[in-house]
């Protein structure tokens, strides 16, 4: 009966439920910490010229702490000292080397020949962003932020995660303006004291990705994939987000991974597969606590193939 309950919990709710990010091997991704769930992040001290540094740092801190404040998880998100060395403004995973989960703003455009020489190999091979500390237009115009998360392909274990925000001058139009104020969305170009691209709104969403969550179909969730300019509602997690984070990292129980397939092959975390809905999130966490195994380092669930879910996506259906 308990197994049936889990099947129902994870599979019976087709829509408006969190999704876990999967890697190229189809495994959901998750953090492993040596002892307690103590995850670190680091803010690059340069911040953004759009907002006071202290307010920017505070917005980023709040973004991470929002996830740590969820009662049904025991995530601890600890800030490392501000990164002040320009040479450390690097995105990606480096071996050997010390990797930090960095949040930084890029204020120069790699597209600018004054920043990256026209004949530089990075223009054809990539990597201009790290080499010249600029926003790489390999992402295309109009990209506001990216999160880079490094995982072990065979286990899904996350090893490093970096968030990069585009504060560079665009090829055309106006630069993205990041704000940290509380208020209404801006309605005119020169308006001040209003919200444009809210740092906390953006980073809270990106932090969810860095913890292993994908986009959800629930428009009330922080992990919903659409955000109008001036939005601040993603600063606060929805019940769907809480269901997701607590299922991956349930308080007092093992982290749920996708390393091993279960005999049923039913439920899992492949792309497009729905997890428990918000109403059931707490129940799911409690069930996990009740059934947790202290002998296994992680709880594994299988990756699933949900043809119905995939079919919806192929047809381009979205909220």
């Amino acid at each position: 009966m308990r197994h049936v309950a889990w099947v129902l919990l994870f599979c019976a709710l087709p829509a408006q439920a969190y999704k876990r990010t999967t890697n190229s091997a189809g495994l959901c991704i998750w953090w492993r910490w040596p002892e307690a769930r103590s995850h670190t992040f680091q803010i690059d001290a340069q911040g953004t010229p759009d907002a006071p540094a202290a307010e920017t740092y505070d917005a980023i801190r709040k973004s991470f702490q929002t996830w740590a404040a969820v009662p049904c998880t025991d995530l601890v998100l600890t800030e490392e000292p501000l990164s002040t060395n320009p040479a450390d403004r690097l995105i990606g995973y480096f071996q050997p080397g010390t990797n930090h989960n960095l949040v930084l703003f890029r204020t120069r455009a790699c597209r600018d020949p004054a920043v990256v020489p026209a004949g530089d190999p990075c223009r054809t091979q990539g990597g201009c962003g790290n080499l010249y500390d600029c926003w790489d237009d390999a992402h295309g115009s109009g990209v506001i932020a990216t999160t880079t998360t490094t995982t072990n392909r065979l286990t899904g274990e996350i090893l490093d995660s970096d968030i990069e925000l585009n504060d560079s001058p665009p090829a055309a139009g106006t630069k993205f303006t990041f704000t940290t104020v509380n208020g209404l969305p801006c309605t005119t170009p020169g308006e001040t004291g209003c919200v444009r691209i809210d740092v906390q709104n953006t980073v809270t969403h990106e932090a969810g990705h860095s913890l292993g969550l994908d986009h959800t179909d629930d428009p009330r969730a922080t992990m919903y994939a659409s955000a109008p300019s001036g939005q601040t509602s993603k600063r606060i997690l929805g019940t769907d987000d809480i269901g997701g984070i607590c299922t991956i990292y349930p308080r007092g129980a093992q982290t749920v991974t996708c390393i091993q397939a279960t005999p049923s092959g039913g439920c899992g975390c492949s792309p497009g597969q729905s997890g428990p809905g918000s109403v059931l999130a707490t129940l799911a966490a409690l069930l996990q606590i009740a059934r947790r195994s202290r002998t296994r380092p992680q709880t594994a669930i299988s990756a699933s193939k949900n043809p119905a879910s995939k079919a919806l996506r192929v047809q381009g259906t979205r909220s």
Binding site: T21, N23, S24, A25, I29, I91, G92, Y93, F94, A118, C122, R123, T124, Q125, G126, G127, G129, N130, L131, D137, A138, H139, G140, S141, G142, V143, I144, A145, T146, T147, T148, T149, T150, T151, N152, R153, L154, L159, A171, A172, F176, I197, T202, H205, E206, H209, D214, H215, Y224, A225, S226, A227, P228, S229, Q231, P271, R313, Q315, G316, R318
Partner: protein, 163 residues
């Protein structure tokens, strides 16, 4: 140890066909010829070069064979996946909105919003589908379509280019 790198992205809209066509340096209907991934200079990040064979050019004057650079890929024991970036499969038929990075190399406009996969069930007209999973869009319009007949998409791009 096998590793992969995932990125999530936030993109500014709108991303309707006309807006994309206006901002793109080139728009082509093409087929994927081959792909190759390599570490970027300086390390840390992997990029994949996707070589496209043009079926028809809808905007711009790109060559018959186009190199498109996209973040992510796999090299040796490391794999780098960019969430929100356009994904390409070998032999895939696509419509892509491109910006020029270098004289012979392009990037895809606005990550996955700049790529449509082309295909058709047996006996039916070809359709062009866009997958915007993995992207957060600030300012995208609610009525932005992701599913067109290929003919309609072509007409809209060509119509936009004429304006």
């Amino acid at each position: 140890m096998w590793l992969c790198l995932l990125l999530a992205a936030t993109v500014r809209g709108p991303a309707d066909v006309e807006s994309l066509a206006a901002s793109a340096d080139a728009v082509v209907h093409a087929r994927v010829e081959r792909r190759s991934s390599a570490w970027a200079p300086g390390g840390g990040q992997i990029f994949t070069t996707v070589v496209l064979r043009t079926i028809e050019t809808w905007k711009g004057t790109p060559a018959a064979e186009i190199a498109v650079l996209v973040p992510g890929g796999e090299v040796g024991e490391l794999s780098q996946t960019v969430q929100g970036v356009a994904q390409f499969g070998d032999g895939e038929e696509v419509v892509v909105f491109l910006h020029r990075r270098a004289p012979s190399v392009f990037g895809v406009e606005r990550l996955a919003l700049g790529k449509f996969a082309v295909g058709a069930p047996a006996g039916l007209a070809k359709r062009a589908l866009r997958d915007r999973r993995g992207l957060t869009c600030e300012g995208c319009k609610a009525d932005e379509a992701d599913d067109f007949s290929l003919d309609e998409l072509r007409a809209r791009v060509l119509g936009s280019a004429r304006r």
